[in-house]
């Protein structure tokens, strides 16, 4: 059996082992369920990963922070620790990033004013060998621009994390290694949940979903394949007698 990849207008014949072989320079998040979805069991370095979300669900900064923090760790990082976060609207809150495991000493906030400058900044930063990850809310991307970002990442060896709107008209233009759709999932009082779905990634478990849980108590993160075995959160309005503290929270369970 041979796999043929059609990506970005190019046909490519892939070996049978091409999918399962772990990427030579990949990083893992340490969340097994999440890593299992990604191609080769890890997130490739020197590549762009896209994080999509519907506008009504906000911007999944948490997932970006998770991946960015993971990209700066491990032996494969080769000393690259710095994370550039493009923040044109000045709305990123760095102390919260610190809570999510990104050292502020290794963080730069870049504030380009125009979309053109933003694209240029992302490309320049990806091309730099000292940068572990570049996080940016992507401007409108053309096919060429997307490809250019991917080439920049290949040259620099860092990780590009693009936050994109799932309903934007240019969503079909991409050159990313993986694409993830992030949606908020019903949480508990001290637990916030997201469902993360891999929607593109050669060799990955495309279409599958994991749930990420962030504990408010200690900022620990867990990845679960499903929430089926957990008691479904009940709406307090419908069950006023049920006290939330009686439901087992993540913090108590773990």
């Amino acid at each position: 059996m041979r796999f043929i990849s059609c990506h970005d207008g190019k046909l490519e014949v892939l070996g049978t082992q091409a999918f399962r072989a772990p990427a030579a320079r990949a990083f893992t998040t340490g969340l097994d369920a999440l890593d299992a979805l990604a191609p080769g069991g890890g997130f490739a370095r020197g590549a762009v990963h896209e994080i999509l979300s519907a506008p009504e669900h906000g911007t999944p900064l948490f997932f970006a922070a998770l991946l960015a923090a993971a990209s700066g760790q491990g032996d494969e990082a080769e000393g690259r620790k710095f994370i550039l976060w493009c923040d044109p609207t000045k709305e990123i809150y760095p102390p919260a990033l610190a809570n999510h495991g990104i050292a502020l000493t290794h963080l730069f906030l870049v504030r380009p004013r125009e979309p053109r400058d933003l694209l240029w900044s992302i490309s320049e930063a990806l091309r730099c060998k000292g940068v572990a990850a570049v996080v940016a809310a992507a401007p409108r991307l053309s096919r060429v621009a997307a490809r250019r970002l991917q080439l920049s990442a290949e040259r620099g060896g860092g990780v590009g994390l693009l936050l994109r709107r799932a309903n934007s008209p240019d969503i079909g233009c991409y050159a990313a290694a993986t694409r993830w759709l992030v949606r908020p999932a019903p949480g508990q009082r001290t637990v916030q949940r997201w469902s993360v779905q891999l929607i593109h990634g050669h060799g990955g478990c495309v279409g599958q979903t994991v749930f990420l849980e962030l504990s408010r108590e200690n900022h620990s993160v867990r990845a679960l394949e499903s929430l089926a075995h957990r008691p479904v959160e009940t709406r307090p309005t419908t069950h006023p007698t049920m006290h939330p503290s009686q439901t087992p929270t993540i913090a108590q369970a773990s």
Binding site: L61, A96, G187, P244, S245
Partner: protein, 581 residues
């Protein structure tokens, strides 16, 4: 003003090497110790003699004096404190040699440098005249060497400035405005030379102290007396030096001056034959220019701190751009990238042909500094290269986006969420020191209410709890928790609005200062709250004029999004401050 002395410490004795006129009048001489000088005059001020600074200042003055003549020499045959100006041919420009001397004297007095000037046909004679002027100005027997001299060949000009100004200028305004009178600033012509030299002391001939003492011993107190001696006896009796100096002073033996090197500006320029109207051509030429600049900088061991580029155009003023570097650099790739970022925006080819494009390019380095060659350890090379590339990336980003567009956040100890960090300048000292003294790793330790009264951790309440309990405990109580709070893991949103957004909130059970939010309106949509965790009470910094107390709630709405709301306790108004996403 107290007399000023310059001392040099020799074997724990502080020996005076120079003194001002005031000190000389009080009987302080060079060679005395500081203690002796203090005995003569209790209020002397002293400073350590710094010969290197002296030398540097003398060179700077020499360069400054290039406005009178292009040939300025220092270090002419054992005259460490003299400057020689070759004014041959400069009379035409200034009118006469007398004018040059006068203008030089005026300029030096403006700089508050007391100098003695003399113009003579040979350097030796000019020096002798200037030296003698200095001697007579101070008085007999002071034994101090003149410090400056200047000379032309056909017509020589010499200076003698007395205080060792390099150091003196650093320590105090102690210069004496020179009184250029009498023999000071004398201009001696070739015919008058022997007559002008004759009454001067032999020491003015740049001979050693021993030789001068020997001549003095023999009663030879003027150069005239020495010249009158049989010529062939002089080398036999006093060695070759005396005759050489006499001949040099009289112009029998030529004495070439070694002029100071002109400091050429670091610049490169290319003019095209036609028009360059493609970006690739511009970049290629540009790389070429940078290569030339780097060769020039490397020859001086310097790196550029500021670069100016000019793109010359027809019928239009040149396109100029200058960049400032945070540290000296002569790395071609780096400089090229910086410029590419800086001028890429500015270059637009209209495609009209003919008039469009550039007719030349010029690159100048007005500011450059010493830049040592970097040695990279074999180990950790990767890290180092990454760091270096990152520094350059930040430089490029700053140049294109503006200085304020690249910030490094730094935690600040503050309970007010928006003040818990600041964008710090990328200060090297601060970077080296990690975080500043009054800056703590985020976030600060919470202080229990009983002790500080500043912040309160509210008991987490859910809406159902409130519903089931119509009268909740009005005061949230401090919740003792384990290590998780003391490590500072407080929920903070990743997305914090720069300015809190005023929102309308439905409060349960009653719309008072203690209720919990049940629903709110945001972006024109009513959002029902499923969970509300809080309040986390943060009192304002009343000492900073921020006296509002906020009760923060971490709420989850039916869409499963999490928001961070707060109510101002004093006004009972609600605001949306951020989103957890």
């Amino acid at each position: 003003m107290a007399p000023l002395l310059l001392v040099r410490t020799v074997a724990e004795r502080q020996v005076i090497v120079a003194r001002c006129d005031d000190a000389a009048r009080r009987g302080i001489r060079t060679g005395m110790t500081l203690t002796q000088a203090r005995a003569l005059c209790a209020d002397v001020v002293h400073a350590e003699h710094d010969p290197i600074a002296d030398r540097r200042a003398l060179e700077a003055l020499g360069r400054w004096l290039m406005r009178f003549t292009p040939i300025v020499a220092l270090d002419v045959s054992d005259c460490p404190h003299a400057i020689f100006l070759d004014i041959t041919g400069c009379e035409r420009l200034f009118g006469s040699a007398q004018h040059i001397v006068q203008q030089t004297a005026d300029a030096l007095s403006c700089l508050r440098i007391s100098a003695h000037l003399a113009a003579a046909p040979t350097p030796g004679a000019a020096y002798a005249l200037a030296f003698a002027a200095g001697q007579s100005h101070v008085g007999q027997g002071c034994g101090e060497r003149p410090l400056l001299a200047a000379v032309p060949k056909g017509r020589a000009l010499a200076f003698a400035a007395r205080p060792i100004f390099g150091t003196a200028a650093k320590t105090a305004h102690h210069t004496i405005v020179p009184a250029f009178a009498g023999s000071h600033g004398a201009v001696v012509s070739t015919e008058d030379l022997p007559a002008a030299l004759a009454p001067l002391p032999p020491l003015a001939l740049r001979i050693g102290d021993d030789l001068a003492a020997a001549l003095h011993h023999l009663g030879l107190t003027t150069i005239g007396q020495v010249i009158d001696l049989p010529r062939r006896l002089l080398p036999a009796r006093f060695g070759p030096e005396l005759l050489l100096r006499i001949d040099q002073a009289l112009g029998v033996i030529p004495e070439p001056l070694v002029p100071l090197q002109h400091l050429m500006p670091v610049a490169a320029k290319v003019e095209f034959d036609g028009m360059a109207s493609s970006l690739e051509a511009v970049w290629t030429v540009f790389q070429n220019l940078i290569g030339q600049i780097i060769v020039q900088l490397a020859a001086r061991g310097c790196g550029a701190r500021r670069l100016d580029v000019e793109l010359l155009r027809f019928h239009e003023p040149p396109l100029c751009k200058s960049i400032l570097l945070s540290r000296p650099s002569r790395d071609g790739v780096n400089l090229f990238n910086l410029f590419r970022c800086a001028i890429e925006e500015k270059i637009h080819f209209t495609g009209r042909g003919g008039e469009d494009g550039f007719r030349g390019m010029a690159l100048r380095v007005p500011i450059f500094e010493k830049c040592p060659d970097e040695q990279i350890g074999l180990l950790g090379h990767e890290n180092y290269a990454g760091q270096l590339e990152l520094d350059r990336l930040v430089e490029r980003l700053r140049i294109r986006l503006g200085e304020a567009s690249v910030v490094r956040p730094q935690p600040v100890e503050s309970y007010i969420p928006e003040k818990a960090w600041e964008s710090s300048e990328d200060h090297p000292a601060r970077r080296a020191a990690g975080v500043g003294q009054n800056r703590l790793a985020f976030p600060p330790l919470p202080i229990p209410r009983e002790r500080a009264g500043v912040r309160v951790f509210g008991r987490t309440e859910s809406r159902s709890r409130i519903k089931s309990r119509p009268h909740p405990n009005p005061l949230p109580e401090y919740r003792e928790r384990g290590s998780d709070i003391s490590t500072g893991h407080l929920p903070r949103p990743l997305h914090l609005f720069p300015k809190p957004i005023a929102i309308r909130v439905m409060v349960c059970p009653s719309d008072d200062a203690e209720g919990h939010p049940a629903a709110f309106v945001h972006e024109g949509e009513v959002r029902t709250i499923v969970h509300a965790v809080g309040p986390e009470r943060i009192a304002g910094r009343w000492w900073d004029g921020h006296d509002k107390t906020r009760d923060y709630f971490d709420v989850e709405e039916t869409n499963s999004r999490r928001f961070w709301l707060f109510r101002v306790r004093q006004t009972n108004r609600w605001y949306l401050h951020g989103t957890f996403e």
